[in-house]
Each structure stands twice: as structure tokens, then as C-alpha cells.
Subunit: 616 residues, 2 copies
Amino acid sequence: MSKIKNISFDKIVFNSGYWKKRYELNRDVSLKSVRNRFEDTARFEALRFSYKEGQPLPHVYFDSDVAKWIEAVAYLVKSGNPCTEELALCEELIDSMEKNQRSDGYLNSHFQQIEPENIFTKRDAHELYCAGHLLEAAIAYSDATNDTKFLDIMKRYFDCIEKAFITEKTSKFSTPGHEEIELALIKMYEYTKDKKYLDMAMFFIDSRGTCDDVLFNILTKDYDQNAMPVRELTEAVGHAVRATYLFIAVAAAGRVTNDKELISAAERLFDNITTKQMYITGGIGASVKGEALTIEYDLPNLEAYSETCAAIALLLFSLEMQKYGLNAKYPAVIERILYNGLPSSTSIDGRSFFYQNPLEIHIASVNKDVSMAPANRTHYAPRHRSEIFSCSCCPPNINRIYARIGDVFLSEYNDDSGKALVINQFAAITADTENAKLTMSTAFPADGKINISLSNNNYSAVYIRKPEWCESYTTDAVATEKDGYIIIKASKEMSFYIDFSMNVFFAETNPSVRENNGRVALCYGPTVYCLERLDNDFDLGAVSVDVSAALETAKKIPSEEYALPDIELDGFVDEYFPQLYRKATLNKNKTKLRFKPYWTFANREECDMKIWIRGV
Amino acid sequence: MSKIKNISFDKIVFNSGYWKKRYELNRDVSLKSVRNRFEDTARFEALRFSYKEGQPLPHVYFDSDVAKWIEAVAYLVKSGNPCTEELALCEELIDSMEKNQRSDGYLNSHFQQIEPENIFTKRDAHELYCAGHLLEAAIAYSDATNDTKFLDIMKRYFDCIEKAFITEKTSKFSTPGHEEIELALIKMYEYTKDKKYLDMAMFFIDSRGTCDDVLFNILTKDYDQNAMPVRELTEAVGHAVRATYLFIAVAAAGRVTNDKELISAAERLFDNITTKQMYITGGIGASVKGEALTIEYDLPNLEAYSETCAAIALLLFSLEMQKYGLNAKYPAVIERILYNGLPSSTSIDGRSFFYQNPLEIHIASVNKDVSMAPANRTHYAPRHRSEIFSCSCCPPNINRIYARIGDVFLSEYNDDSGKALVINQFAAITADTENAKLTMSTAFPADGKINISLSNNNYSAVYIRKPEWCESYTTDAVATEKDGYIIIKASKEMSFYIDFSMNVFFAETNPSVRENNGRVALCYGPTVYCLERLDNDFDLGAVSVDVSAALETAKKIPSEEYALPDIELDGFVDEYFPQLYRKATLNKNKTKLRFKPYWTFANREECDMKIWIRGV
């Protein structure tokens, strides 16, 4: 059905600037940091199948943690990074899996070593989730190395799964408690063209919400998107990562089967998330309770859960939706995540990670819950990134997303005049596609000017997404504009620039979001900014700005530490007074406010942070 | 020590208006509503000592519920209300207590009937709390009826308590898990002049925070004010009712013993609560977790717990502090509670009650916690008053506070020129004191004009508290002003008026309260107003006012249902737009806003409610 396809990450080379730094930080620091902590916590050990009583238990989700790390290595290798040491570890683990796979094909480090009697009986034990992640890793590994050993292991395992869940129905449940396997199966179908995997994916997608499956007892069926068939779902509900992984599979299944109901569900759920349940950072899943999407327009800042894996899932969902056709709203969501909710997950030094990504920090509030000892007051988001968590799904997810981040930049699109190149995102890259060699040079996201050159070009046109924040642009090419894209007719060899005249501006939120009524967020191009108390020594809630006057005073202050400038502008801080209440004066004093990119928060000593401040 | 004393409620008669209506509503409706529901729920049955297996269990706190109801009846009788039926029930219950009191003096309907083996072993079972409430009831009953039977029962019970806790120390704990007994014991000391009761009070006050007592396991020692001696406490912490009942005892003990440390603790804790932890309604205890005071300046509106009993406790604490000397801050807090946090507890028809008093209702948010079934989503305050709760401490507390509400209006104060009459609060009352007959006629709180006449007067002067909200006043008497009081020299027979020129105004909160930054609350004299969505059909978070312009448009609209007018004024509602985020325009549309007195909220069909709206 689709006239558009994404250009794969392995065609892209990062030349300089923000994205080169990010890519290399992930490859050279984050990947190793995760590996080291995974060794410390016996995560790799689990797949060595050497568990002995008294040793750390292989947890039910360890296989998925390791799988994502292997997947990251595979993507890096596919892009030409040698990763010698990492590949050696992957090979060791794959050999171990081959050796320890049961004769019936079953493979799970927890159940085989700890409770083999419970295989396929515990819906809440992440068993099929682990299988899905292993399958994704195997596909990536096979694709990167041309070594099919891992994929063959997985083929045997998925035959076993097919038998237990579909053919013989010996399993004690029908659908996974945590979705993931569905999207992995469609990837497998697209990689192998074997329809069996598509059929399995459709079985898991369509059984959901139509069978007796339950998850724990305290939870509603909404938690795991199990209250009704996903085809009927009108609102994204429940655990944000589970929901979005399912929706990715729904979108992909719709695309490969051309099933209108699935396509329409995917579109509806994407719109529901992104127009009613998404933070300005691209984070989703507002509530710590159930790590869940809650109700429309419920986007608390201080209590924001906004799990890193959920932002990554929404990025992947958007990337999948991008395959439906030329529609600027999908890459716009990706841009939001790329420069905000994704980089916030990782410390500037690349070593440590956020599981939750709060939109505000108010240190004093951490102690609000006086009903329990300070150590147990976990209701408020952490203020520091960590190298590892007991549930450490996010760090290897960060590894694998940055390893394939090249996927987001370019598409090919068949328009009336032929095959066009679509530039979805902006970075200093070279791309060697079948139809041209593209070079973009830019300081984006620090600057909006993009120099584009094409050589040996067969594309008929270049479509350049016009970012939502761009009000006007200049170019030295002949350009037309359509549906959020700037279209430039292409020739064999060409060079041109486009300048989005990136400015500092304030954003506001739909009035239905009670948390942000009357508040504005400073943005510079795609990057959302925040105040940290270390730079602004007063209650951040007492801050306000006169929006237009403030922008006139805005000054960019270059930062040495990261590609983006700090921004300083004039604002106000409310007048302090001793009483708790008094007749309203609304007196306030002028002050300088210094903003930093949101994603750089919490990289210094612990302090309050705030994005949304009062504006008039 | 003290040169000031409160004039007792039994000297006061309500002649008309707000207070007559409130007083009679409590006597004629609320008291009967509570009685009926207490019969339904076997609360009176508990003290009939007729429990048989299979019947509803007498709960550990039932004695205290009944005690407060008896105390209310006693106050009404003392004021000359016959209350024939109610008195008959009191007599029946007192006879039953006498008959069923153990030979060692012990008296508790739960422990005697359900677990006698556990007497004085369970610190979390409200045993001494019940004893304290029974003692307060017995004092009131004896004082009202001159029948000492109930008081004699209590004397025997308190001898038993003294033996178990102090003389022989056979009890398994030293201090009550829920304070109350301390303040009751000081009341008993003041009523009987028997120093034994003061000594017992001091034992419980000073043992607290110095012994090994714990309460449950999940809680910190802060929860029951047990982490340190109250003399050292600098912040009010933990369960709001427990804390404030303790502080009342500390204030009273300081007064009767002239113990400077206790006096200073009481003053410090009163100031901490009222300048850092009190809602504009006079409610305290912000958090549902532990029903607790949390941290300074933590005053969430939507999640406000603000238990009715805590507002009543703060009223009683203020009344006790008022005995320290002439200081307008104490009656100012009482005024705040009288016209806001106390009446909000009761439906306009007098039949049903709030346990929690939210400062905001946002119906959609009730369903935010999607991790559990809708019926279990109890994190947000109820939207309806109920006639009874499983823990129904508040309704009889409301009964007893309104029955003695006359206590708040007048004091006598010895100044340099003789004995002066102090008018703390304003109402249409007649008061027959030893030194004069006072008549106040006023439509307060609907109007600020007070006509005062004294006949047969021996007071040297009249001190009239100038309310905090009053910016200027007129009077036809010769008046001086000092420390928040208007002083008028008195003659044998005199009449004068004072007009506080009550106006509509907006209040603001200390900037340290992050919940209310940039927000204002409409007030009319002492009454805080709110918006209800039934009268203002848009998201209440999208509302704002231009403070000075809005006040110029304010119109009072008389209400038939209660003494106060509605107020209508010009405000704004933010412009709606379809996206979730856009470049800030801060566009808004002019609209009429209709406010009602806060305490009248939730008397119609369920809807959103908001006090604090954005102001510029």
C-alpha cells in the first residue's frame, strides 16, 4: 500500500555536531556502562545458564535486557563499527543459548533454571516479552553479521511457542502480559517473508481483549490493554510501554496486511496519545501507578512518570506510522522525542540513566509523604540518573535506539513526478542511498540553517519537513510548500541551503491540561528549555514572564558542555511576604532568568527544576 | 497568669441570621441525623454492652463517637435547650456504663466485649482516646445537668488508668497512640481542681517522645508526634488531629502551670501551623497519607485532605491560645475556620458531612489512578457529603462544636483601666455576663455593620477585634485602635455601631506555596468563595481574572438558600485550540464568572469546583 519507505540507519554516517557526539557517546560510553553493570548484576550470567543455588537469581526479564544490548551491538556492527569485544560477548551468549536451548526449542534463562515446571503458565512473568526481544536481537544480529545461528535458535523457539499457544494450546494463557512479541513477529515476517510469523503476530494481536487472560489481581484489564480488542480501542490506556509496543505491532500489521481496521486503530491511537496524553518532551505515561497512561489531558509535571522506554516506544511507533504516507505529524513527534524526552534519559557523560523523566523537580516535595520513613518515599521521581536499576529495561533500550538512530532522518517517497527524497530530521550526515549521495551540513539543533548537497542524484525532488516551530524560512533553491513539506525539484548535482531561522519562543499547552494553565515553556527550535535552581536562586514556582517582553531580552549564552546555548532573559519573581495569606497585590520583582536545555537537567548537584512557568 | 478569659457559650443567645440558623440546624437536624446513623451502625449498641457473636463488632473508636454526641447534648442542655429525647438516650447509656463498668473501674465497650485479654496492651486501638472523649462528655454532662453519675464513673475509670499507666505501670505502652486524653485531663483538673488529673495530663504529655512507644510498623514516629518531646518540637508533624489535640493540651497545661517551656511550644506550634501549613479555609493536614500535616508550604488543593476534625481541633487550639492574652491572631484563625472550613463540613440541609474537605474538585481526575478498579480509586477527595462513614469521628465533632460555638464570641480582659469586654467574633447575639447585658445586631457575615448595645454595664471598655480583611471602618463611637483591636470606652448604658465596610477582594498566598503561585481567591469579608462548574461551564483551570478590573465589575446576587450573596464578576477563559502544544498566544476570551461561598460547594449535582484561580 505504502508509497513511502524509511531509509535504513546503515546508509547514514554522522559527520559532526550534536548527532555525531550522541552516537559516539552511546557507542563508546553508554554501551560499555550498561555492559559493565549487566555483568555486575549477573544479567549476562543468566544466559550462560550457570545458575547455582545461592547465586543471584536470573530474573524473569533478564533475557530481554541482554537481548536489547545484543541488538544494539548488531546495529553498530551493521553500520561498520567493529565492536570487537562486544561481538565476542554476543557470540559467547549465542553459543550458550544454542547449547542450553531445550530439545523442544524452549529458551528462557529464568524458567529453565528456576521454575521449569511453570513454563507458559505465568502470564505476568515476561516470558513472551523476553522471546520477542530475543527475536528482535536475532534478526538484527543475522542482518548485521550474516551469521544465522542466533536466528535459527529463535526459529526453533518460535516453533515451540506456536505449538504451545496456537496449535496445541497447552499454555495456561493466550496473550503475553507484556506486549512486545507481536512487533518482533512482524519484523521477523518482513525479514524472512515467512507468513507463519505474521499469522502468529495476528494471533497475539487479535486474541488480546477477547480471551480470559488476566494479569495479577489488583489491576484492571485496561492495564495490559486487555479489556477489549485493540481494533475497538479509542483511547490509549494502561501501562505506557505495553500499550505502545502493541500499537507499533498494530501499525506494522496494518501496513503489511493492508487491514483497514488495524490501520485506522493505529492512526486513532497515535492521535490519541500525541494530541491528548503526551508531554511537551515527547514523554508519555503520566502516572507512577501502573507506569501508565491515565486520562486525557492528565500531564502532571512533578509526578510525571514518563518512562524512558515509553518515549522510545513512541519514537518507534511514530517511525512505523511514518511508513503510512507522507505526513509531517509523525516526524514532528519524533523530533520532539529526539531533542527532549530521549536525551533527558542519559547523563551528559553517557554513563547513567533515568528510568522516570520528571518534568519538574521540587526537592522539598520529596518529603511530602510523611506517613513513611524517608527512604520509602518513592512517590516522587528520582533526582539523579543511575547506572543500573533493579528493573533495568531502559538503559539497553537507549543503547539500541541510538545505535539505529539513523533510521529517523530520511525516507523515499513516490510522488507523481517520480521517486523523491524526504528529509524528516536534520543532522550533519552523509547518506549513500541507491539513488543519490546526500550530504547535510548543519549545526542543528543549535542552529536552523541546513546546507544540503546531492551528487549522482536520481531523485526527482527533495521534500524537506518544515518543523512545527518554524514560522518562516529562507532558501536559495526554488521551493514550493505542501502539507508541511518544502519541496525542491532535484537535479543530478545540486547544492542549496534552507534556513529555518531558528528562534527562541514560548510554547503553551491546550487549556484542558489543568497542570499547565497559564504557563509557558521556553523553547529554542525543537529543544525545550528549563530553569534549574542552581542558576535561579528562588522558588521556581514564583517565577513568571511577560512573554513578548521577555523574548525581546533573550540572549544566547554558548555552553561548553553540550551543543546548545543557555538562554538568559528578563522575567519576574513574586514578592515574598511573611504571612501565609494577604490581600492580593500580585507584586513581583524583575529578575534575570537563565534557562538550560531540559535534557541537560540534573547533571549537577541536586536542585529544583521547572519547565512550565507562568506567562502573561 | 492570664488577664483574659473566654465568656462561656451558655451566656450567649443567638437572635437571628447566620448563626441562629447554623445553631438550630445543628440542634434540630445534624444532631438527629448523627443519632439515627449511630443507631443504624450499632454505635450506641456498643455502650449497651449487649454484643453477641454475629452482630456488628463494637469498633475500637465507637465509645469516642458516642461520647462526642453526648457532649453535644450536654452543651445544648446547658444552654437551655430541653433535648428531652436525647437526654433520655444519654441517661440510658450512662446507666449502662455504670452497670457494665468493671469492678476495677475499667470501661471500654470494645475491649470488654471483644478482647478483654488485650486491655492496655494495644497502643493503636484508641483506648485512651476513647477514655479522653468519655471524660470530656462526663464533664459537660455533669456541668449541664448537675447529675454526677457519669463523672463518678469516669473518676473510677481514670483511677484505673492512673494505676495501670503511672502507679503500677502494668500497661504495655506509656502514651496513647491517638492523643486526646491529655486535653480532657486538664479540663477535668480545671473542673474538679483535683491536681491528680493535671499530674496525669503532664505524665502523658511529657512521656511522649521520650519512651519506646511505637505505632503500627509502617509509620514514622512523626506520625503520632512521638519522635521527640513536644517541648522540643519546632514543626507540627504527623496526623493532624492527633497533633492538634496534643497541642491544645500543651497550651492548656502551659496556662494552668505557667510552664514557660510549654507556653513557648504552644505558641511556636500554633504559628507553625497557621503561617506555614493552613489552608485559606482554616483546614489543616494536607495529605491523605497519614491524614497528616506534611511539610511547610505544602497545600495542594485537589488532593487536600483537610479533615473536618482537624479544622475543629485548630479552632479549639486557637480558642485555648486566646486565653494567653489579647492577641488578634487567635480569633482571626477562628474566624477563618468559622466561615469556611467548618461549615464546608456540613450539607446545607444539615444531614450529611464531609470527612475530607477538598479545596478543589476536578471530576475527571478521580479516574487518574488507572492501576486499580474505579471503585478503589480513593486517592482523590469525595465529591459528596455522607451521613455516616465507617470512621465517623467528624459528624459528632461537628455536633459538639456547634453546640458550644457561643464560646468563640466574647472574652473578658483586664486592662489598665479595669475589666473590658472583648468582642472576638460578630453575630446577632445577646449575652448576659456578670458585668453587662450585650446585644449585637448584625447581618454578619453577609454585611460588616455591627450594632452594639450594652445595658447595666460595668465593663470599662469594649475591645472589638478588627478583622484582617477590614481596611477601614466607620463608627459613631469614640474609638482608638491598638494591636488589631478597636477600643471604645464604655458607659453604663450605651449603643453604637461599627461598620467594617465589608468588600469583595482577592487574596493571594505566600509565594512559597507552589500550588497557588500566581493565583488568587475571591473573598467577601471572612468568607472564601469558589467557582462551581454548574455555574461556569468551562475548565475551571482555564479561568483567570484581572484582579483590579474584575473587582470593579463585582455584583452581589442575593441567594435564597443561605445568608450570603453569590458574586458575579468579569473574568477570562483561555482560548481553546485543537493541538496539545502551540506557540504561546495566551489568548483568552472575556466571560462572566459566578462565585459562591466555598462552604456551600457540592450541594447540587456533582461538578468541578475551584477556589484558587489565576490572577494578573
